[in-house]
Amino acid sequence: MAFLEVRDLVVAYGAIQAVRGVSFDVEQGQIVSLIGSNGAGKTTTLRTLSGLLRPVSGTISFDGEQIQKQPAHSILSRGMAHSPEGRRLFARMTVEENLRLGAYTRKDEEGIAKDMQRVYDLFPVLGERRGNKAGLFSGGEQQMLAIGRALMSRPKLLMLDEPSMGLSPIMTQLIFDTVKELRSEGTTVLLVEQNALAALGLSDRAYVIDLGRTTLSGTGHELLADPRVQEAYLGEGVGAE
């Protein structure tokens, strides 16, 4: 059984089905991407995984346990952290206060302090400006803080929703380099991206979600080479890197 196993997930907002049958696996220590166009159901899937939404049907099992009926806080304390779309920082709080809230479910002060230092090591700019308000930061710095905040719960699985949204290519590269670094340290990453090119390049495995269903899957490089993916998500001829 995979580390995270999603089977036939169906999620609806009232009468509208946003996710109509998503299934995928995430193995421990991998970076797995969900790619797809706007409105395909990627964010809804992620929000359901982290317990912010209830699925209509389908199962989610994490680390051998079914979690689709668990509330958000208990999923988080099992080791799944979610950095939401649009970053959703507490803009009027300082970097440090944001990180502290990321560690809300933990009570080991020593470990929290250590992890906070680890975030500052990972993103030195956050350490330099730890007393500043998050809202005053640039988009890239805010994304760093959003990832740092999610890491503060010491997750086994880190879920990132559109980390490259609105960032310059250089900043996107920096964020994705960090994601690779996290993988090398043993954190499993589930990535949701519209920037398919960048996401597939670093993914061990990837799934294409279209109209609420998983339609294709493969390793990152297989999908990069797939003509259907090239046509739909990469634009002509870009994929042959």
Binding site: H82, R92, M93, L101, G135, L167, S168
Partner: protein
């Protein structure tokens, strides 16, 4: 012992380019800023000494209302001329000196002068029938009010044109005992000031039509002086010093509060007013948890005060109560708090499903249900229109709380014990609030207020934590309610109407959401004003509304701002932008 005193670098102000609507005017005036400030100050002082009304008493066929004898002598009853003189002289002196943030300080003083002149001028006009009205001797017009108003406005204009500096930050550190003495003196002055403000103008009512205007005039003068002090950075510095000696400051402040009966406010009437302020301050702090910390709008909050009061009334042994038992006061307080808390949790439970405006409507409905039920004497518990009268005073042994106390030659008025009790109660409520705000629970509330979805992604159990905000807030109001029942001896449904809820909410917003001193200050202002403005009962709400609009326009973060809220509104306030950096909203893409 070495003490370093580092005054902030005196910035030689470069010529400021003003933009915006009045930019052209300000730029034109700028070269004359210094002269302008001096001229404004001189005009203000001059205005204070000119006659403000030309009629002298009722020596003839005058309207009776024209007996505004307070405006006859230069420094009559109200002292407003003294205030204008002092503010004016201060403006002149500071204009001539080299001090940091000079223009900002002078602007504060000018605003004070203009406000006092305008207020008194309007009052004379309305009450006396015109500026200068009519006299027996002649029909000349009295220019005092106009000259002082112009003086104030000139001062403000000149100071603004000179360019408003950022508030200086003082980093003086004195030996600890000097700071202790300094704090002691400052807090003692604050006590005297509070007593002065409370009693200024005397008891409002038909016999004393001056009460309202004298009180407001003093408030206007004080806000001018305080905004000047705040501009000089000294207030912030005192704040920093008291933060350094936190425990000492808290103890001294508590002692100062307890010393109020020894000042001019030590009469039965003022003790009652102060106790009522205390009740509303405690309730406002409770509401501050719900609204200020957790960000949940509650429009029916006063119902919890009512529930506490009726619970206490029924357990007091009053003849009209449905439950014929009499329990000790402390136990009654606990029971009232618990009952109010239970209702709080019930009202809070819709927060699981509805948000924002819809929640406000649910709480509004709850408030109405409470008042209607109380009016209809539900289950015989509220006395309906007859209320529950004759609630016995709190007694300890043979001593009744409404007795007067004689210690040696010192005789304290009756009601002092209630005042002491409410001070302790408010202190307790503050302690609860302060500890909660900085606790894990407090952080969770603030996170929910800022972004509920993000908060739940952090693993915060938003549902139970929101209900807890309602529960704790309601308990604090219930405590205050139990006190209220015994102090006023009558609990009637009409003390807990929608208007009271709105006033409490206004107190929280006015004072500054999420801060303790803010809630206390807001409650004090909003519940003293009606006492003072009895003569203007018809216009009271109008004045109230105007004051609220003005404050929200010019200081949206409230009088005492919370640091998180301040950031949100920074864009509106140039000073805050200077301190916080350009724009506090999330900056776009790098």
């Amino acid at each position: 012992m070495s003490t370093t005193i580092d005054p902030p670098v005196a910035t030689t102000a470069p010529p400021v380019q003003h933009t915006g609507r009045f930019g052209a005017v300000l730029n034109a005036v700028a070269p004359f800023a210094k002269i302008g400030m001096i001229v404004g100050g001189v005009l203000s002082v001059l205005g204070a000494f000119l006659p403000w009304v030309t009629f002298v008493l009722n020596e003839g066929a005058y309207p009776e209302r024209a007996s505004l004898n307070m405006f006859v002598e230069p420094f009559g009853v109200s002292g407003f001329r003294l205030h204008i003189t002092l503010l004016g002289i201060a403006a002149i002196v500071i204009a001539l000196l080299t001090v940091p943030a000079k223009h900002r300080i002078v602007r504060g003083l000018g605003i004070g002068v203009a406000a006092v002149a305008l207020l008194n001028g309007i009052w004379i006009t309305v009450e006396g029938g015109g500026l200068g009205a009519i006299t027996a001797a002649d029909g000349t017009i009295a220019f005092g009010a106009i000259v002082a108003l112009i003086g104030g406005l000139v001062t403000v204009l000149a100071a603004t044109s000179g360019g408003l500096e950022a508030r200086p930050e003082w980093e003086w550190e004195l030996p600890w005992w000097v700071e202790w003495i300094l704090l002691l003196v400052i807090f003692a002055l604050v006590l005297l000031l509070v007593a002065e403000v409370l009693t200024s103008g005397g008891q409002g009512g038909v016999v004393n039509p001056y009460a309202g205007v004298v009180f407001l005039s003093l408030l206007a003068a004080l806000s001018g002086a305080l905004s000047a002090l705040s501009a000089s950075g000294l207030l912030t510095w005192v704040g920093v010093v008291s933060e350094r000696h936190r425990v000492f400051s808290v103890v001294v402040l508590l002692l100062c509060a307890l010393a109020l009966p020894f000042t001019g406010a030590g009469t039965e009437y003022w003790m009652t007013v102060a106790s009522n302020i205390g009740v509303y301050a405690a309730t406002a702090i409770g509401l501050n948890i719900v609204v200020g910390l957790a960000g949940l709008l509650d429009l029916g909050y006063v119902a919890f005060l009512g529930i506490g009061a009726f619970t206490a009334a029924n357990l007091s042994g009053a003849a009209a109560s449905a439950v014929g038992i009499h329990l000790p006061f402390l136990l009654v307080m606990v029971i009232s708090a618990v009952v109010a808390g239970i209702f709080g949790a019930i009202v809070g439970s819709p927060t699981l499903r509805v948000r924002g405006d819809y929640l406000a409507i649910v709480t509004l409905a709850f408030g109405e249900i409470f008042v209607r039920s109380a009016q209809n004497n539900i289950a015989g518990l509220t006395g309906g229109a007859n209320a529950i009268p004759n609630i016995p005073p709190v007694g300890v042994g043979g001593f009744q709380f409404n007795d007067s106390i004689t210690i040696g030659a010192l005789r304290l008025p009756s009601g002092v014990m209630y005042y002491v009790a409410i001070v302790l109660l408010v202190a307790f409520v503050m302690l609860v609030f302060g500890n909660l705000k900085n606790s894990r629970l407090g952080r969770a509330w603030i996170a929910i207020r800022e972004d509920e979805d993000a908060a739940s992604a952090m693993g915060i159990r938003t549902g139970p934590i929101k209900i807890l905000a309602f529960l704790i807030g309601a308990m604090l109001a219930g405590l205050a309610g139990a006190f209220f029942a015994h102090k006023t001896a009558v609990v009637a449904y009409d003390s807990f109407r929608f208007l009271e809820s709105v006033t409490l909410l206004a107190a929280v917003i006015l004072g500054g959401m999420g801060t303790i001193p803010g809630a206390v200050l807001g409650a004090s202002i909003l519940f003293v004003l009606p006492e003072k403005l009895r003569e203007f009962a018809d216009y009271r709400l109008l004045l109230f509304g105007l004051a609220l609009i003005l404050i929200m326009r010019f200081r949206p973060q409230g009088i005492i701002a919370d640091k998180h809220r301040k950031a949100e509104l920074a864009d509106d306030d140039p000073e805050d932008v200077a301190r916080e950096g350009p724009g506090a909203l999330p900056t776009e893409v790098k």
